[in-house]
């Protein structure tokens, strides 16, 4: 299924929104940590893993998912959260550790939870797979419609959890899609150096599930491939591995200089925000003016969200003691 013009404009808008957000976060991150760099300092502390370059993997896949469907994300969640439609204000506030954030400051950047959007993330590699497959299992058992999707990187396929969960997805014919964002780098180790085969999508054969590889970081191609996987999941045909070639334009986390990436590879990296815009304009889906309007609109929404975060209060230190248990009191 190909995307309509309206869907393509929406995907462009999503990747712009995600990029604007990541750009502002990057700016803020470094602004107040210098000169004696301290991860603990500043408005956005800790380690941030931005989604620069990988936005199409979320923008192209999310349009097929409804609020009945469940998503688990990983340590690089911003594009997933934004393309899923999470509230930018609460997202920004959570990154800043504010009381108004999605988790009132408990979770931070790698642990964004939105119940309304059936969205959660985990910072441990590949560990979003089990829970997503588990929701798929629960939905199947209760004969409910929702499917489940997990997002991870190509290096995560070398985790034991990948093998165990995909095998069970096959055994139980789960309505589950494992989306792999292949940016070629697991922190500083290339795919070739860490993975015995070229494409993780081919591992689908080991599990009796469907596998597909999208060779380009293009929203339209990703959209089409995802529609095939979603159709299978919704019609009882079971699980898929959808692997997408994408680009990690920045380091693994902010501050990583990417010194280990060969220069030719850096030069060859494509920037989807520029590429997709050019594509849509050349095909007459968007005019320059419309594109500018989209950028300006997203910029102002992101600015407002960042300001919301900055203006929001921090939690009370004693809030740390709340919500350790649901039913037990100490």
């Amino acid at each position: 299924m190909k995307p309509t013009a309206a869907q393509r404009k929406a995907m462009y808008s999503d990747i712009v929104r995600s990029r604007e957000f990541d750009d502002r976060v990057l700016e803020l991150y470094f602004a107040d940590k210098m000169p004696v760099f301290d991860l603990a300092k500043g408005v956005i502390p800790g380690e941030i893993h931005s989604s620069h370059g990988q936005e199409p993997c979320a923008a192209g896949t999310m349009p097929h998912l409804t609020l009945e469907d469940t998503i688990t994300s990983n340590h690089r969640p911003h594009h997933h959260a934004i393309c899923r439609g999470l509230d930018l204000n609460k997202l920004a506030a959570e990154l800043m550790g504010k009381k108004t954030g999605y988790c009132a400051g408990k979770g931070g950047h790698m642990h964004i939870y939105s119940v309304e959007h059936k969205f959660s993330c985990s910072g441990i590699i590949a560990e979003g797979m089990g829970p997503a497959a588990g929701v798929a299992l629960a939905n199947k058992m209760r004969e409910q419609d929702g499917i489940a999707v997990s997002y991870m990187g190509e290096a995560a396929a070398n985790q034991g959890a990948f093998h165990e969960v995909m095998n069970m997805a096959g055994v139980y014919t789960l309505p589950y899609i494992c989306i792999i964002e292949d940016n070629n780098w697991g922190v500083s180790v290339s795919k070739k150096a860490s993975t015995a085969i070229e494409r993780n999508s081919e591992r689908a054969a080991s599990y009796g599930v469907y596998g597909e590889y999208v060779e380009d970081n293009d929203c339209d191609l990703i959209f089409e491939a995802m529609s095939r996987c979603v159709d299978r999941a919704r019609s009882g045909q079971g699980a898929s591995i959808l692997e997408i070639q994408t680009y990690r334009l920045k380091g693994h986390m902010h501050g990583d200089q990417m010194a280990y990436v060969p220069e030719e590879e850096v030069a060859a990296m494509k920037d989807c925000v520029i590429e997709y815009r050019n594509k849509l304009i050349s095909e007459g889906v968007l005019t320059e003016k419309e594109a500018e309007e989209i950028v300006s609109q997203q910029k102002s929404e992101v600015d407002a969200a960042i300001q919301f975060g900055l203006d929001s209060p921090y939690p009370d230190p004693e809030d740390a003691f709340q919500n350790t248990y649901a039913g037990v009191s100490k």
Partner: protein
Amino acid sequence: MVEVVIPNDMWEEDLEGVIVTWIYKTGATVSEGDVLCEVMVEKSQSDLLAPATGILTIIEDAEAVVKRGQVIGRIE
């Protein structure tokens, strides 16, 4: 006398770095090639090596903000 200088190619771009820590004190004898101090730019840390053998005098202390080409000590 040889100056201890932040090399011009220690990092790219015209950023400021900071001396994280000195391994030797003023008055110490150092040998050419010894790691004298650790310098950090953004999140990258590099070692600064002694350009000569002799007695070290520190000019910029730990936590000092430094630029490429800046003199931070001397060896006599």
